[in-house]
């Protein structure tokens, strides 16, 4: 068994609503200081900062997962975690066809900064990232899973953009192996009601550096090899659920 601190829902300065100080190196640095072993970058409807993020994680010697927080047509937030950068980037690129392209107003929604490996701003996403795509809740799961992603509904116990808040309950399909809640009691209840074998996650959904989780929140996963990287342990575990 292996137990480690994690945070699998983080926004970089690419997300309009996130602080511009959420650069990839600042995120990895804060996660390192907080004692985390595994973190994921999940910007709204884009994976454009994942490459730089993985580089920053490698610099700190922590495991990074390239991810995305997709907004469905019903405005439900769904987290997708990818097994490779290539899969993440392909999914992010292909999602463009399903986005509603509204010019971002940085003065209203915030800037959407794209970074290179050294935290330098190399571009801005022109269209607003956080608004709904044309993919339904069910279609969003299928779409991300076609890139072999682990997909689960985000902040299930939050009224805005949570699946229960919007649909009234969790639909029986699609199923999922992970569940993200702020309150573990809610996660436990959902897990029992849906009958899925779930890995219950408590993620920060941090938009500012000080909201990133510390190592008081951990996951325990089976692992024969103590040197096995945390991201691989995670994917092996959720793949079996």
């Amino acid at each position: 068994m292996k137990t480690f601190g994690y945070d699998l829902h983080l926004h970089s300065c690419l997300s309009p609503c996130a602080d511009n100080d959420m650069t990839v190196h600042n995120i990895a640095g804060m996660a390192y200081l907080n004692g985390l072993s595994l973190i994921a970058l999940t910007d709204h409807n884009s994976t454009a900062n994942c490459r730089a993020f993985l580089h920053a994680c490698a610099c700190r010697g922590i495991s990074g997962i390239p991810g995305m927080e997709l907004t469905t047509a019903e405005e439900i937030h769904v987290v997708a975690l990818f097994r490779s950068l290539a899969a993440a980037e392909a999914c992010g690129n292909d999602l463009r066809a399903y986005r509603t392209l509204i010019e971002n107003r940085a003065d209203i929604f915030g800037e959407q900064l794209i970074l290179d490996d050294e935290d330098r701003v190399v571009g801005q996403e022109r269209h607003l990232l956080s608004n709904a795509t044309t993919l339904s809740y069910e279609e969003a799961f299928a779409f991300c899973r076609s890139y072999d992603a682990v997909v689960y509904p985000a902040h299930v116990d939050r009224q805005s953009n949570g699946v229960i808040g919007i649909l009234g309950s969790i639909p029986p399909f699609p199923d999922f192996s992970c569940l993200e809640c702020r309150d573990d009691a809610v996660a436990l209840q959902v897990s029992e009601e849906t009958g899925h074998a779930l890995l219950r996650l408590i993620n920060s959904d941090a938009h500012v550096l000080w909201d990133i989780s510390d190592d008081s929140i951990t996951m325990t996963v089976p692992s024969a090899d103590p040197k096995e990287p945390a991201d691989r342990c995670f994917f092996e575990t959720v793949g079996k659920l």
Partner: protein, 109 residues
Amino acid sequence: MTAGELCGRLPARPLCLPDPDVEIEGVYAGDLLSWVMGRAQAGQLWLTIMTNVNVPAVALLTGVSAVLICEGCAVDEEALAAAKQKGINLLVTDLPVYEAACSVFRLLS
């Protein structure tokens, strides 16, 4: 009819009314913010039950004259602070959306 006049005639209370003299030019009702973002027209009164921090942002983007929160939904502090900062007229009524829309229609006719 202005936003301030509407507030007095509907059973509605102003949470934030920086521009009471703005003229109300029609109504748009909707809760999916992405949907509202592309459809509400400047000058309209926007009826919704959504109360999160993105509501003032969408109101500013679309240029609606005021937001009328229906069903007496509680507006969180972050959203209210954003409305004040962005100069958005934010009103609350206990009426359901349909009844609020009917009342506004009668007042505007």
